[in-house]
Amino acid sequence: LAKTTQPISMDSYEGQEVNITCSHNNIATNDYITWYQQFPSQGPRFIIQGYKTKVTNEVASLFIPADRKSSTLSLPRVSLSDTAVYYCLVGPRGSSASKIIFGSGTRLSIRP
């Protein structure tokens, strides 16, 4: 599994757009980029997954440049409830993909 590097923590304010960047220089051709979110005392929750360019859903957008060595999770107009730890994961899809190896993630704190 490709190693990922992301900021340990970030602070922002309600209503702002937050971008969390993850580096994954050794990403393999068949790897996908996946982001999970974990609120305090809860299990992680899948947010978004992508392979290249841009993916958007009702929660976030994921921007992946052509070289795929990094990716950016974008949270539009954050609220206090977006305070959580965000994990960037890189690995293959499909039935052979099994366990998730979580890093330390990015602890996002949103202030009023």
Binding site: Q38, S41, Q42, G43, F46, F102
Partner: protein
């Protein structure tokens, strides 16, 4: 929306006692997992389970741990003789088959070993 459920939400036990943590995965899922998170630390993989057998386990998952899917709906994690260091949040997760590998996590069981 279907979800993974776990019981109990909090379990307190004495060191050396056996505990069973229970999970009900999403009904049509095929892959099942247990993870744990010691307070303030990373989420750690324990074991994955597919087709009624363990497919992978971590070094944490030693002989004191076992998993079972006794009735086609429940998925349990048993710790035979708990240690103080087993105190953690234990998360169950499940995944459907096919290409899409999103794992759905339960709310967790907080295990406190005294």
């Amino acid at each position: 929306e279907p979800e993974v459920t776990q019981t109990p939400s909090h379990q307190v036990t004495q060191m050396g006692q056996e505990v069973i943590l229970r999970c009900v995965p999403i009904s049509n899922h095929l892959y099942f997992y247990w993870y744990r998170q010691i307070l303030g630390q990373k989420v750690e993989f324990l074991v994955s389970f597919y087709n009624n057998e363990i497919s992978e386990k971590s070094e944490i998952f030693d002989d004191q741990f076992s998993v079972e899917r006794p009735d086609g709906s429940n998925f349990t994690l048993k710790i035979r003789s708990t240690k103080l260091e087993d105190s953690a949040m234990y998360f169950c997760a499940s995944r459907g088959g096919g290409e899409y590998n999103e794992q759905f996590f339960g709310p967790g069981t907080r295990l406190t070993v005294l």
